[in-house]
Symmetry: none
Subunit: 228 residues, 2 copies
């Protein structure tokens, strides 16, 4: 799922430029020309990250950041603050107000996108979907790619999600209901035992690789991905 990024910037053409570049990088930009309007948007849906201009008409960026950070709902949303060079001294103030990163104008959109990714990687790794490696296994969620010893392994969607989940949480035992919740999502009128079947299918995918015995059955408890 693409990350929703709220951009708060009063200069319309700049707002648009940032939005287009983020969009082209696979994010989902949401535009706000003022803090007031941004607040309205946030009260409907919480963005995954906010790009916030320092200077805004009405409520300014720093004030808006403070508000966000005092609100329980919004305080964990990462903020990237934009500021003009002349206000660079205010950097400390910005970071104190809760900004996670800080960019001095003028910047290239390319650089901004890079920072957005960096912040998301730190704050919400789930949204960035980084590849995972473990032993000979390499799994890239965004490309639906699984390799064992550099060789691509054919694997279906559910088995892929299942393996992804287990690899993200190595050496931890999950019972069937936990697995259903976290891999299938909450549409769980699904039978416990279905997990068994998919574990079997997953093992079949891994058969013939060096990692065929990574998924262990823990009798009476559930399943576990063994990192070693």
């Amino acid at each position: 799922m693409a990350a929703n990024i709220l951009i708060v910037e009063d200069e319309e053409s700049i707002l648009e430029l940032i939005a287009i570049n983020l969009h082209q990088s696979g994010f989902n930009p949401v535009r706000a020309l003022s803090a007031e309007y941004a607040e309205k948007i946030i009260s409907n849906t919480l963005p995954d990250l906010i790009i916030l201009d320092w200077m805004l008409p009405g409520i300014d960026g720093i004030e808006f950041a403070r508000r966000l950070k005092t609100n329980k709902e919004t305080k964990s949303i990462p903020i990237i603050m934009l500021t003009a060079k002349s206000q660079e001294d205010n950097k400390v103030m910005g970071l104190e107000a809760g900004a996670d990163d800080y960019m001095t104008k003028p910047f290239s959109p390319r650089e901004l996108v890079a920072r957005v990714k960096a912040v998301l990687r730190r704050k919400a790794p789930d949204l960035v979907n980084e590849p995972i490696e473990s032993g000979h296994l390499f799994l890239d969620p965004s490309q639906h790619l699984l390799q064992s010893n550099k060789k691509t392994v054919t694997i279906g969607p559910t088995e892929f999600r299942l393996l992804h989940f287990l690899m993200k949480n190595p050496n931890i035992i999950f019972n069937r209901n936990q697995i259903l919740d976290r891999v299938w999502g909450n549409k769980s009128e699904i039978d416990d035992r279905t997990v068994d079947v998919h574990i079997k299918r997953l093992r079949d995918c891994l058969k013939g690789t060096n990692d065929h015995n990574k998924i262990e059955t823990v009798r009476g408890m559930g399943y576990r991905f063994n990192e070693n």
Copy 2:
């Protein structure tokens, strides 16, 4: 990521004409009706190239170019200068002021786009639509030419753009909406499923060549061009 191109031109209809043509060629145009406004934009975000009209109200093009070239942040941004025929003598002055290329009005949008590409090719080769080769396939966007094993392949416009996009981004999965956004442009009242049909048509074009199976369906995710 597409190149961001700032157009500074006080004649609104010309500005719009240029912007539309650049957009259709895959660039991100940013509009400014005056040097003053352009400065404001630049003070926020750095474009990859600037198209600059010679005659502007207030700060004129030549003066603006000089300013850009004396500023450390902006001096490496390429500039294409636009001038009326009567001012053609000023060409030397323009180039001295730091322009990388020079166009005399009236010009055809096609020519302008060609110049933009030429300048970018020199200054930022990544941002231009060069011919692409992959396996036996050779695709030249500027000529709408597709060859497999040196033999020309008949291919329609949409299929061509689609293949171009996929070849530019090999081994990466795109879902239908991403493909619609990036191949069709933002006129997306178009049905998801239309992508399927064009993928089919594209595959039909490639049928009989050595590259007939390059386009892979990744069930539940989208499509991907396999480089190998």
